[in-house]
């Protein structure tokens, strides 16, 4: 891969105001992702993972910092450059039941990106749409189907087909399997992986499920309350997490029946009720109120995202030891 073929977030921030208070959905996030990398962003609700994906897609405005695509600041792109960016970076949304227009059939749905981003002719769009369906393992007569005639798994396959229609270099998939049954989820993730390998394509898989992340990504970025807390290669983060929060997520990830689990606890005692904490009110590390390894400085100083060796980074004053 050429140098500079990356998506780079530099101190990116996005603020929301809900219920009379301001919440930083993204709070100074700096990460760099190669266009051929298979990355997963993991976090619980409110972690900012969905906002991260939408910010990279240009669907939310940044309140601070910047996002660069192949060295160019997206905030300053003209329409032509934006269309070029859209051709190369495409999303797959969470809700397959909602991502298709009820008034359009599959052909119209698959044609739209080709029409506006590739300026394809009608015949080209038809041909391409058919071949996309074939790639997804779907019958070509599905072109005439409307969304209500399709199952969730089929719709999600078609959503992926739409994303692939412009031959993108990178896919951003936000919880693509969370609305699907487990038996259909594996199929979608396998398909995504297979396509990425075949087409030398990268992806960013946003998920709350550490199991899904570990299954589909080579690198995992863990977020908590708008900040990145850890960023490591999958194998090393699963076997030896450095941030206490990551270890909790991994400890609570689903396991196969019969596999032993060691569930790390959070701070004992009733004051550790995870539902009663508002992390945005904390001055230092936002995880500090729940953390078993809390030091005095954790409540005062925001930990920086530091190199941990082996190419990984963690934001913790008192990280776990590497194994």
């Amino acid at each position: 891969m050429e140098k500079g073929e990356r998506i780079e977030l530099k101190e990116a921030s996005v603020n929301y105001s809900t219920g009379g208070r301001n919440v930083a959905a993204l709070d100074g996030v700096s990460i760099s992702i190669g266009l051929n990398e298979r990355v997963s962003v993991v976090g619980e609700s409110g972690a900012g993972k969905t906002t991260l994906g939408r910010a990279v897609l240009g669907l939310v405005r940044l309140d601070g910092g910047s996002i660069e695509f192949m060295g160019k600041d997206m905030g300053r792109m003209r329409r032509r450059a934006i269309l070029d960016f859209r051709r190369q970076v495409q999303p797959v949304f969470q809700d397959p039941y909602d991502s298709m227009n009820p008034t359009q059939n599959v052909l119209q749905y698959l044609s739209m990106p080709q029409r506006f981003l590739m300026k394809s002719s009608r015949a080209e769009m038809r041909e391409k749409s058919e071949s996309l369906l074939e790639t997804m393992g779907l019958e070509s007569d599905m072109l005439w189907k409307y969304p209500h005639q399709l199952s969730g798994g089929q719709k999600q396959r078609i959503a992926i087909a739409r994303a692939l229609a412009t031959e993108p270099r990178f896919i951003i998939a936000d919880e693509p399997t969370s609305m699907l049954d487990a038996s259909a989820a594996a199929g979608i993730l396998n398909l995504l992986r297979k396509l990425a390998v075949e087409r030398d394509m990268g992806y960013m898989l946003v998920t709350h499920n550490m199991g899904v992340a570990a299954y589909s990504a080579d690198r995992i970025i863990v977020m908590y309350s708008g900040r990145v807390v850890e960023d490591q290669k999958t194998e090393s983060i699963v076997t030896s997490p450095r941030h206490p929060y990551t270890s909790v997520l991994i400890g609570h990830a689903p396991v196969s029946a019969g596999v032993a689990v060691n569930r790390p606890t959070e701070l004992a005692g009733s004051d550790a009720d995870p539902d009663a904490i508002d992390p945005w009110k904390l001055a230092g590390c936002r995880y500090s109120a729940r953390c078993t390894r809390r030091l005095d400085e954790c409540t005062r100083v925001v930990p920086e995202l530091k190199e941990t060796g082996g190419g990984g980074r963690a934001a913790c004053h008192n990280p776990l030891d590497a194994e």
């Binding site: 199952s151 038996s183 396998n190 199991g211 194998e235 990830a253 689903p254 196969s256 959070e266 995870p274």
Partner: protein
């Protein structure tokens, strides 16, 4: 032996303009008093419908056939007032997605007290005291009494719902996806709480979930459902460690868990058939890797295996358990 729940060839049918939907299609099972019984299955398999039917709730124009006996009483033949007093006093429910199962315009204290007062002659003040006690059991402070549902987090609401479910010390508690839609740490917390209150009250629990890992952790017995019918039922550890029915096998195999990273997980091929006008053969035959001609001809009868489980399959996979 007669269990606290006895279902005899239960059918629940919802007529629609396109034909009858057989949400539950001939389920026979027995739940032993004091046990935790899991009902597993993917969306649309009828598990939630069974849960509601145990309380005598079948929304019109739906109807049931076959027997539902709970605590020795025939649920389907109850009179209005008898049924009202039976509900919650003898069977209560922890609802799926606590987000919406609380009345948005009343505070928590009122809602807990309301259940108590509608079932017994206690003063308003006494019922409030009882509500405070109940909240204590799920480790929520008394200040929650004055809060409205929209002011609570998902985990807090779910715990309020658990507190409500044990308010009248019912013999049977039905928990329908009690932790779905919660963050992993809250999930763990809510689960511990549910375990604790169940152990303290000696209630029987029917736990409905799509999450096999959760069921493995909580249940003594389990029934695996597919399209309104039980595929396999027996002791949870037997079934989850050594599945007999090809569907159970495929379901477990397709479950993405953190220990499966780097391995290939196969999804179940194909899609479930429409629940309208189901064919009178094995309903999994179309997607089954082991199907033979008899599977396409008639519905397999129940087979009891050596370890006591019941399997509805002509070709059970776990031969050692065969009777």
């Amino acid at each position: 032996m007669s269990g606290i729940v006895e279902l005899a060839d239960l059918k629940i049918i919802f007529p629609t303009s396109r034909g009858d939907v057989n949400a539950v299609d001939g389920v026979t099972l027995s739940v032993e008093e004091g046990s935790v019984f899991g009902i597993a299955g993917e969306s649309g398999c009828g598990k939630t419908t069974i849960g509601l039917a145990l309380m005598g709730i079948i929304r019109k124009p739906g109807r049931s056939e076959g027997g539902i006996r709970v605590n020795g009483k025939d649920v389907s033949s109850m009179k209005d007032e008898e049924q009202r007093l039976f509900r919650w006093k003898e069977v209560s429910m922890v609802f799926q997605g606590a987000m919406n199962s609380l009345n948005p315009v009343k505070n928590i204290g009122y809602q807990i007290a309301e259940v108590i007062r509608d079932h017994s002659q206690v003063t308003r003040q006494k019922s409030m005291e009882m509500a405070t006690e109940l909240l204590k059991k799920v480790r929520l402070p008394a200040t929650i009494l004055d809060r409205f549902p929209h002011q609570l987090s998902g985990g807090q609401k779910q715990r309020v719902v658990i507190a409500m479910a044990i308010a009248l010390n019912p013999k049977l508690i039905i928990a329908d996806e009690p932790t779905t839609a919660l963050d992993v740490v809250s999930q763990e917390y809510v689960l511990q709480m549910l375990k604790a209150v169940v152990e303290a009250s000696n209630s029987t629990v029917v736990l409905i979930s799509h999450d096999l890992s959760l069921l493995a952790e909580m249940c003594d017995y389990i029934a695996i459902m597919y399209l309104g019918k039980i595929m396999e039922t027996g002791r949870a550890e037997d079934i989850l460690a050594n599945p007999s029915h090809p569907y159970t096998l495929a379901l477990l195999d397709s479950n993405i868990t953190i220990d499966k990273r780097g391995k290939k997980v196969e999804s179940i091929p194909g899609y479930p058939p429409s629940p309208i006008n189901l064919p009178r053969n094995c309903r999994f035959s179309d997607r089954c890797a082991f199907a033979t001609s008899e599977c396409y001809e008639s519905e397999p009868p129940p087979t009891t295996m050596k370890d006591g489980r019941t399997v509805y399959c002509y070709h059970p996979r776990y031969e050692d358990g065969e009777g």
